[in-house]
């Protein structure tokens, strides 16, 4: 089954004519993803790669193509508006890749999303991949910027705040012969649409997912909340890694959300609580997959 998206999900890309958005829209097409529409205000009527129709508004794109998911690549000053537009058009899954959106903008967007039927993943995230069954996982649904070819369809769910650490985990799994159900990058910003906990709940309910890797970092309490929920509710084996054990307090480590605050949000404190909640902790990022296999009994 996978979560959030599968090989039949129809997606649209907001900001498809930008350099970054266009490059990754092309890679998704090559991966076999059902990319059915693009949106760029003022460029309606044109075609992307001579095949994908471009619309002026998300509402038109959804109406014409039946897209249910959107990937947002628009620049930071316009990203909040793009998310709200997708919500207004009834897009079920909004994945915002854009990095650098002001926190105040996200605060308002997050409030506006309450009670809507849209789920936001991100911002500042690598996106979501449900691998396909073809060679090098071709034919899957790829929303965002992850390298599709490192995936393999299988039974491990991966959730992470960081892009390259997700790829690292996926690569380790695939090398060992274990595929993934769905890989979700929830993003490195302090305010995001979907939390570790939200994704764990979905993996727990998903028949195809048998084991989970959860990757977090310093800053905030999201990993701890997810771990506490998992202790009481999740029956599937989980391996976890937390980046930032050596980060100095009070410094923002690249991600806007990655900053050591009080005593309880250091990497050590998070790892300790996660371990107490029954999550197998990978001591280094090199052993994320092997740590899961040990816990999983593989």
């Amino acid at each position: 089954m996978a979560i959030l998206i599968d090989e039949n999900t129809k997606i649209l890309v907001q900001g498809i004519t930008g350099g970054f958005g266009g490059k990754h829209a092309k890679l998704s097409l090559d991966y076999g993803t059902k990319l059915v529409a693009g949106v760029t205000p003022g460029k309606g009527g044109q075609k992307f790669e001579n095949t994908v129709p471009i619309f002026d508004t998300v509402s038109q794109a959804v109406g014409e193509t039946g897209a249910t998911a959107s990937a947002i690549f628009v620049p930071p000053p316009f990203a909040a508006d793009a998310i709200l537009e997708a919500m207004d058009a009834g897009v079920e899954l909004i994945v915002c890749i854009t990095e650098g959106i002001p926190v105040m903008d996200m605060m308002r967007v997050k409030e506006a999303l309450k009670g809507s039927k849209s789920r936001l993943v991100g911002p500042n995230c690598p996106g979501i991949v449900t691998p396909g069954l073809g060679e090098k996982s071709h034919g899957g649904c790829r929303i965002g910027i992850a390298p599709g070819y490192i995936h393999k369809r299988g039974n491990v769910g991966v959730v992470s705040r960081s892009g390259t650490l997700t790829y690292e985990a996926v690569f380790q799994l695939t090398q060992m012969g274990y595929g993934q159900s769905t890989c979700v990058g929830i993003g490195g910003d302090p305010i995001n649409g979907t939390s570790h906990l939200d994704v764990l709940e979905m993996f727990n309910d998903d028949d195809e997912t048998e084991a989970i890797i959860m990757i977090g970092e310093i800053g905030g309490t999201a990993e701890v909340e997810a771990a506490r929920w998992a202790r009481d509710n999740c029956k599937k084996p989980i391996a976890g890694f937390i980046a930032g054990a050596t980060a100095p307090p009070g410094r923002r480590m690249g991600h806007a959300g990655a900053i050591v605050g009080g005593e309880e949000d250091t990497a050590e404190a998070k790892k300790k609580i996660m371990a107490e909640c029954g999550i197998a902790i990978a001591e280094t990022p090199s052993v994320m997959a092997t740590t899961l296999m040990e816990r999983w009994g593989k």
């Binding site: 926190v103 390298p147 892009g163 790829y167 690292e168 890694f241 054990a245 480590m253």
Partner: protein
């Protein structure tokens, strides 16, 4: 981004948040003129650097203390001579100290009571939260630890903003009444507007004081701005003082590199913030000490890799470099070529271990192997960390 005390004062003035009278001076003459302007009030002169512990600090010229009471314009000038363009060392600056380029002449207020007041963006509730306490003038972490019941928190609705009843609640918690409550209400309302309008992630006033002559004043403030929002605040960007920042970080920001200098001796160059943090962690795990955090981003160019190399090698503590790249979309061969170009240009005086994985990795590894540069190849992250720790010794 940090700002100076006098700049915080200017922001407070603009948003009508009452604070003690004060004026910045860049020369002894300006200091004397400011002291003259405030004649009649008790005054202090304060060195302007981005570091705490100024009062107990010392100047490298032997002059003691970065904060002094002054009694006349002549004395203001005299002290300014001893402070301006001199290096102040405090507990927070390290031995190198900071050069004082400006001083502030400010009113020294008598204090009836010290309070704590802060507004910050709370990630748990995704809302602004106001934190207030009757225990000001000390570390709020200590108050939270020793007497948590003395800290009051009010979450503000993200769309509705600060309401009058919320102000009344906080005022009551602090024990204010009558005219003081009225003054505090206005101060908090204006402070909240400043917080929102300037895209702050935190404003901390510690202490907020009441005075014997019946005023409520923000005595000392710490600002933190949302870097992501600076594009819409050129006036705040203009407050940035690069002289106060780590020159390596300033150089890195010019190339859009995310660099943070640390105290260790193994430098690392990584793509992606999470992987960069994890690389520092794994160096430490194998017994080394990371010299920096450095994220070259997802689409690093040859030029950026070369610039990153130079910044790393500019740190005299660095005894070895670990490059860790997971090139998902990025071509590993492009990275390999960038590394070789940078290594040739800089002469590469220290050990270099490279771990490449991902797109076009075979070609990238072949390019590195074919070069005449002494590069140690690593199979994975753990192997890379072990090898560089061993090489540095």
């Amino acid at each position: 981004m940090n700002i100076h005390e006098y700049q915080a004062k200017e922001l407070f003035d603009r948003f009508q948040v009452p604070s003690p009278k004060g004026k910045v001076a860049a020369s002894p003459e300006e200091a004397a003129a400011a002291a003259k302007e405030f004649a009649g009030a008790k005054l202090v002169i304060k060195a302007q650097v981005h570091a705490g512990g100024r009062g107990k600090g010392h100047f490298k010229n032997g002059f003691q203390g970065g904060v002094h009471l002054i009694e006349s314009p002549e004395q203001a000038s005299e002290f300014a001579v001893k402070m301006l363009n001199e290096t102040l060392v405090t507990v927070q600056t390290g031995e190198a100290g900071r050069v004082v380029r400006k001083v502030m002449i400010a009113e020294a207020v008598d204090i009836t009571h010290e309070y704590y007041l802060a507004i910050l963006m709370d990630r748990a509730t995704c809302s602004p939260v106001i934190v207030a306490s009757t225990e000001g003038g000390m570390s709020i972490e200590d108050v939270a630890h020793d007497t948590p019941e003395k800290i009051f928190r009010q979450i503000v609705h993200p769309l509705l903003g600060l309401q009058a009843y919320e102000i009344r609640k906080i005022s009551a918690e602090l024990g204010f009444s009558g005219d003081i409550a009225k003054q505090f209400g206005k101060l908090l309302k204006n402070l909240y507007k400043l917080f929102i309008d300037c895209d702050c992630s935190m404003i901390e006033i510690n202490p907020l004081v009441t005075t014997p002559d019946g005023r409520v004043l923000a005595l000392d403030a710490k600002f933190d701005f949302d870097d992501n929002a600076l594009y819409r605040h050129p006036d705040i960007v203009a407050l940035r003082d690069k002289e106060e920042e780590d020159p390596r970080e300033v150089a890195a920001s010019e190339y859009d590199l995310n660099y943070i200098g640390l105290d260790g001796n193994i430098a690392c160059l990584v793509n992606g913030a999470g992987l960069a943090m994890a690389t520092m962690d794994i160096i430490k795990h194998y017994g080394g000490e990371p010299a920096n955090f450095l994220d070259v981003g997802g689409g690093a160019t040859k030029e950026q890799v070369a610039a990153a190399f130079k910044i790393i090698l500019g740190d005299p503590n660095v005894k070895g470099i670990l490059i860790n790249i997971f090139g998902g979309i990025m071509d590993c061969n492009v990275i390999a070529e960038g590394v070789i170009a940078a290594a040739k240009e800089t002469g590469l005086p220290i050990p270099l271990v490279v771990r490449l994985e991902g797109n076009n990795v075979e070609m990238g590894k072949a390019t590195l192997a074919a070069s005449d540069i002494n590069i140690v190849a690593a199979d994975d992250m753990a192997d890379g960390a072990e090898k560089i720790v061993k090489a540095v010794g």
